[in-house]
């Protein structure tokens, strides 16, 4: 069986699996029991927390009442005592207040300075960035001019080089042409010389052949002539 088919069949089988019976009554009852148990445990926890809150609130009320009772039971103070307390308080509070005021003033001054320094920084920053922009613009213009000059020079150099190259090429071509003409002339002269030599050779060969033929003819005629002379003598 192909695995794809097998997978499809397995899914189908699992989907259509015969489930023996639903959950038993016992199981359902057990589950409900456990949930109820948890519910009860949760409620007990809530009750416990409420109890704790109640106790805490009661303790707080008792403490407040105790403090209020003690405050109201204190005897009234006379003027000397009040002055003494005031002096003591002043002595104790003075350095503290001084420190606090000093700190406050220092803080304010620092804040002011910080604000000023910040605005100063911002202004310097702005000015600096503006100057940088200007400088960048000038630099760009200068660099453009310089670049244009450089490009012009480069173009001139390239043109010069091309011109020189062209001249060299035309000179070389002229030399090649001259050499070719010379070679052609030499070849013509050589051909003429060869033709003349060939003609001479042919003439010489012809003459030699003619001489040879003459000699041969003479040699053949000589015995005949001698025979004729002998016959003439005989006849005579």
């Amino acid at each position: 069986m192909e695995s794809k088919e097998k997978l499809e069949k397995a899914i189908e089988e699992l989907k259509n699996l015969r489930i023996p019976a639903g959950a038993s009554e016992n199981l359902i009852a057990q589950t409900i029991g456990k949930i109820k148990e948890q519910e009860r445990a949760g409620q007990a926890k809530i009750i416990k927390i409420r109890f704790l809150i109640k106790y805490a609130a009661a303790a707080a009320v008792i403490l407040c009442a105790f403090w209020a009772g003690r405050a109201s039971n204190r005897s009234a103070l006379n003027n000397e005592q009040i002055l003494l307390i005031e002096n003591n308080l002043f002595k104790k509070m003075e350095p503290l207040v001084t420190t606090v005021v000093k700190n406050n003033i220092t803080g304010q001054v620092q804040n002011l300075m910080a604000e000023n320094s910040q605005s100063l920084l911002a202004r310097v920053d702005e000015k600096y960035s503006r100057q940088l922009d200007d400088y960048a613009a000038v630099l760009l213009a200068l660099s453009n001019k310089n670049t244009n000059t450089l490009i012009g020079d480069l173009v001139n150099v390239i043109n010069e080089a091309q011109k020189r190259e062209r001249e060299m090429i035309s000179e070389t071509l002229g030399k090649i042409e001259l050499a070719r003409d010379k070679r052609e002339e030499d070849l013509n002269n050589n051909f003429i010389r060869f033709a003349a030599d060939t003609e001479n050779e042919i003439e010489m060969t012809r003459q030699q052949l003619q001489t040879l033929i003459e000699n041969k003819t003479k040699q053949e005629n000589e015995p005949l002539q001698m025979k004729g002379e002998q016959n003439g003598k005989k006849n005579i």
């Binding site: 695995s3 794809k4 997978l7 699992l14 489930i19 639903g22 959950a23 199981l27 409900i32 456990k34």
Partner: protein, 174 residues
């Protein structure tokens, strides 16, 4: 916290939850544990937040618990050194060949499901066992419809690969 009549909930959805867990576990004892766990988890969840659809929640939790239990069972059987199939075979009645083959197929897909990543296995089970739509699965898994689609596709591809490798191993052994 809104008040829910849990007795009624358990009675109403017991059939659905039972079939869901039994289908995945194929074993009554495990299914019973999983059944109880499902309702208790749902109860705890309802205490902490408001639930819109209790049935969907129960199906999702039961699927998740069943897959967890299946994994646990497979890993335990590996540790104990005996095959998971033996336990299943012992618990089920012997039947005709085709039925045995079908049971084998079901246990094979259960084993394969344990090898999938958790979310993919859940998405696959919700899709093919509980007939959930892609949007419902996305809602339960807390993701988007497209992502749920990707999870289902990946799960099926992985299962296909597992079946392929098992097939080739079986042929090799043969």
């Amino acid at each position: 916290m809104e008040h829910i009549d849990w007795e009624n909930v358990v009675k109403t959805y017991s059939g659905r939850v039972w079939s869901c867990v039994y289908r995945l576990l194929g074993n009554e004892a495990d299914a019973a544990d999983c059944f109880q766990e499902t309702f208790l988890s749902a109860y705890r969840l309802c205490c902490s937040k408001k639930i819109e659809n209790i049935e969907a929640l129960l199906i999702f939790i039961s699927t998740r618990r069943a897959i967890d239990m299946l994994r646990k069972r497979i890993s335990q059987s590996k540790v104990n050194g005996h095959s998971e199939d033996l336990q299943l075979a012992a618990g089920s009645n012997p039947g005709p060949d085709s039925e045995a083959q079908n049971r084998e197929l079901a246990s094979e897909i259960r084993r394969a499901l344990c090898r999938l990543p958790r979310k993919e296995a859940e998405a696959f089970c919700l899709k093919y066992m509980s007939d959930y739509s892609r949007e419902q699965i996305a809602q339960e898994l807390g993701t988007t419809g497209n992502r749920a689609g990707v999870l289902i596709f990946r799960a099926k591809s992985r299962l296909q690969k597992i079946f392929d490798s098992d097939n080739s191993r079986y042929k090799g052994e043969k």
